[in-house]
């Protein structure tokens, strides 16, 4: 029940008062979807427009360090938790998350983006463009395209 990663991400979205949370049914098998979503270093720069590079060791981990490099050259240290069907990534300023579960012949996929409460509002504001319903749908759309290629 609540081992369902999508239901868990929905709870976290409420807790983080997330500006971006989108959930969608994708007409592709779970394995195909999650192989793209969990391949963070190769795929995340294709999925997030302002990201040039996401350096992270491969494989599931409770906590592993990562470094995001923006198109502007801005660098940001992240901590990543990756498990089957579930991914959380957070820096001092923002949180990102993805979740997936098999649903019929396809996959229920969810994506989350939130800013952390902080004094560094101006820097955080830069990330504001990451958030919003349309951004979430664009992310899922790109992910579906990438997954269809596999």
């Amino acid at each position: 029940m609540n081992t369902d990663p999508v239901l868990r991400l929905r709870v976290l979205a409420a807790g983080l008062h997330a500006g971006l949370y989108t959930e969608q049914h994708l007409p592709l098998p779970y394995e195909q979807v999650w192989s793209v979503a969990s391949d963070l270093s190769s795929e995340l720069p294709h999925l997030v427009p302002f990201l040039r590079e996401f350096r992270v060791p491969p494989g599931d981990a409770d906590r592993k360090p990562a470094l995001a490099v923006g198109r502007s050259g801005l660098r940001e240290a992240f901590e990543v938790r990756l498990a089957p069907g579930s991914c959380l990534m957070q820096s001092r300023l923002i949180v990102g998350g993805m979740a997936a579960v098999p649903e019929g012949a396809g996959t229920r996929f969810a994506v989350l983006g939130a800013t952390r409460p902080t004094a560094l509002r101006p820097v955080q504001w830069l990330y504001g463009s990451l958030l919003g319903e349309r951004r979430g749908q664009a992310f899922v759309h790109r992910l579906t395209e990438r997954a269809a290629l596999r």
Binding site: L7, R10, V11, G15, V95, P117
Partner: protein
């Protein structure tokens, strides 16, 4: 202080995660979710037996949505109980089809005693499921959670007298069975 060690009380472990989660630490929030889900499930099962997954999910959403407003992280479990019982009663009332419990079912009961895992035996849950939602909530809080009548009344937002009469009616069904 190592609150992650074996000696740490559950509410101390929770309090540390609550503080981090209130600062927007998503990984701590994720751990807190894992920690509190079994407790929320245990409260929801007897109150909303027909809609348990919905009751658990809606309780958890309400808990985490309200987390930033919790002033004392050490009071986390008590607060979770308040939020969960309210949500579970609300969800159960949405679809409540209440029929009176069968006396022969009640006769099989020895009382509201939990097993070693803190869960009610299946036959007790079965009878509870057929009591009215309000009676269920009162019984769970009074017998299972050990709250006094004043605390139950405050939690459910009803007068103490109402709790007393609901408790009396809910218990009398069990008492009839015991006296056979």
């Amino acid at each position: 202080m190592d609150t992650q060690g074996d000696a740490a009380e559950p509410w101390e472990t929770a309090a540390e995660l609550v503080r981090a989660a209130q600062d927007g630490d998503a990984l701590a929030m994720d751990e807190l979710l894992t920690l509190v889900t079994p407790y929320v499930t245990r409260l929801c099962r007897p109150i909303a037996p027909h809609d348990m997954p919905d009751a658990v999910q809606e309780s958890l959403v309400a808990v985490f949505k309200g987390l930033r407003g919790l002033r004392d992280p050490l009071a986390f479990y008590g607060w979770v109980r308040t939020v969960t019982v309210r949500e579970a009663v609300r969800v159960a009332r949405r679809t409540a089809v209440e029929e009176p419990a069968d006396p022969s079912d009640l006769a099989r009961l020895g009382g509201l005693r939990t097993g070693t895992d803190g869960e009610l035996p299946a036959d007790v849950r079965d009878v509870l499921a057929r009591l009215p939602v309000r009676h269920r909530a009162v019984l769970v809080l009074r017998e299972l959670e050990g709250l006094d009548e004043a605390a139950v009344a405050e939690l459910l937002g009803v007068p103490t007298g109402t709790v007393k009469s609901r408790l009396h009616r809910a218990r009398s069904a069990f008492r009839k069975a015991w006296s056979r």
